[in-house]
Symmetry: C2
Subunit: 365 residues, 2 copies
């Protein structure tokens, strides 16, 4: 750890339940079972000790920041949990290929299991973790990160599976990184650990969304506290994220299929205001009610248990589940024309422009 | 080039027509259009000069032997020719990853375009080429080489496409190398250049089939000479390979599909002795007449134009084509129980034991 790095805080075992819960909120339905991410991180923190969190603003220019993540279908991640060692080994494989010595690890995706996977590697490798991520939410494809918009390349990247297979990719652009890594992930059994977007401290300061791990922890704690005080945890989440309640009701249908390495599907939620249709590809991407798009990617569509405020992942959606659907604004950089090309509804095959939580002109929180 | 290496001969531009023709014979239907392999090698040899051939027996123990090959569906290779630079770059990518300095290049497959691809890299990189290969024929999958039976690992391996994407794989066994490299090859557009099975001179002496590049050249020259003398080129090929004529007739049907990265299919040849059915997956694997398996993998099934003796690849098979089908014995090591598990008919989904060219007890040439 660089002497120039000041520590913004620590992530300890006691933080993990709240952090994983908040990560599932930002996961917008994707990112896998937060309980699994929490168990993995607990195992690592108990063995190796707490992980220092460093705000992006505190990173020295020449810091060597290496993100690590899980890639694949959340439906599969639930049944195929990686080991602590595999996650660290994937970072090491990239560092050896690049002949670099990482000074900090980072999350490339704040959401679901990918908020806790880097904690596991940071604990194991004894490195501090950047308090931030590459999206400020979760997205299904590898090129869908703000660093892509800053010209930071996804490769060289490493990819590894639990059997011991390791690959390194060096591609001509971040879309090719996605295609080739996805092909490997599918062959590896629909989930793999990846390490990519290695960057300098200067690049991390500019391109990451700061504070998202702290935000996850805060969100998780607030849900618990409001629930304990018999308050409205759904309203508390909306308040914390500057979002709004879109819909409440009962899940009446879920169609889900794991194809081309993704968990794709639709769910309907029937309530007093009508029937809301949620369209997802790992993450919830579009919310439609009575033919009207209420909110769409890149803004966040968050499904919470109406009573407890617990986030509900797409694979946990069940008939009869009473849920509340929130919209929350994405990092404002996701609304630039280049960003919309990367993650807007049309990229995913939906024939409409993005619809923002706070209407076409507002939205930044 | 090591001073300890003696040179068994040179491959010059004038050799290439014969060599490519002979390579298509050993290609047993697979390996792509020999004309394309010849053009690529001509381009490289005209630019960089002839390539020294070194017999495996002449390799010093500590030689650093690096094979290079094309991977994918021959049907696609015909339309997507790699560049000279791409082939050399793939070798260099592996050498850089392994931090080795290759002293010799090698063919991993004698057959079709993979007999000439290594010539291209050898010319470009100024390295001698081993006169031999890892199969003594062509097979469709990456683990199907004699080095696998000697415990030599396929990885680390490099893989690259014409667009500039490069990958390195490090797998737990040679079957996983095949699976992961195949996934990348398919995503790269169904053809890619690979460099793998890097080995020492001692390992190459033990595990390769010696003399196969010279054999390709000899075969090609003999076909031409016999034809010029109005002799029987088909009989000459059978004689050169210690094989026998199985069937003659006219192609009456060809069913061909490019699936999961392979050119798979069946062809029927109707003649005076009945109807022969050829079953292929890149290469011809089984020849059946009237319900009886005449010859099967690992022995060679070779289709030649009945008049000219020119080898016919599976993608060049056409209705009405008059062809002769030969069987020829494989390297005897392919008939061990471990080898039959790797390349026998049952591996490919045919429910019978191997049938050898010279009956169940004979066959070695």
């Amino acid at each position: 750890m660089s002497a120039a790095t000041s520590v913004a805080g620590l992530v300890e075992v006691d933080d993990l339940a709240a952090l994983a819960r908040g990560a599932a909120v930002l996961g917008t339905g994707g990112g896998g079972d937060p309980y699994i991410g929490r168990l993995l991180a607990e195992q690592a923190l108990r063995r190796y000790g707490p992980v220092p969190l460093v705000a992006p603003a505190e990173l020295p220019d020449d810091a060597c920041v290496v993100p690590v993540a899980m890639m694949g279908a959340p439906t599969v991640m639930v049944e195929k949990t990686p080991s602590v060692e595999l996650i660290g080994r994937t970072v090491t494989a990239l560092a050896e290929y690049l002949r670099i010595t990482p000074t900090h690890l980072a999350c490339i995706e704040a959401g679901g299991i990918n908020s806790t996977i880097p904690l596991v590697a940071a604990a194991q490798l004894g490195l501090p973790l950047v308090d931030g991520d590459g999206m400020g939410r979760a997205f299904p494809e590898l090129q869908m990160v703000l660093p892509t918009l800053y010209g930071i390349t996804a490769t060289p990247m490493s990819i590894a599976d639990e059997k011991g297979n390791v690959g390194v990719l060096n591609t001509i652009d971040n879309h090719w990184s996605e295609s080739l890594a996805r092909a490997l992930t599918i062959t590896m059994g629909c989930s793999a650990i990846i390490s990519n977007y290695a960057m300098t401290g200067a690049q991390a300061r500019e391109s990451l969304v700061g504070g998202t791990l702290s935000l996850c922890r805060t969100l998780g704690r607030r849900i618990e506290a409001v629930r304990a005080a018999h308050g409205d945890p759904v309203a508390a989440v909306a308040d914390e994220l500057g979002g709004r309640l879109l819909h409440t009701g009962k899940v009446t249908d879920v169609a889900r299929r794991t194809t081309t390495g993704f968990a794709r599907g639709d769910a309907t939620v029937a309530g007093p205001d009508g029937v809301l249709e949620l369209r997802f590809q790992n993450e919830h991407l579009v919310a439609v009610r009575d033919g009207e798009v209420l909110v769409s990617t890149p803004d966040l569509i968050i499904v919470l248990d109406s009573e407890t405020g617990e986030p509900v992942t797409t694979e946990a959606l069940r008939f009869g589940h009473r849920v509340s659907v929130l919209g929350a604004p994405a990092d404002p950089r996701w609304h630039s024309p280049e960003a919309i090309e990367l993650v807007g509804p049309r990229y995913f095959g939906y024939d409409h422009d993005p619809v923002r939580v706070w209407g076409p002109t507002g939205g930044a929180r």
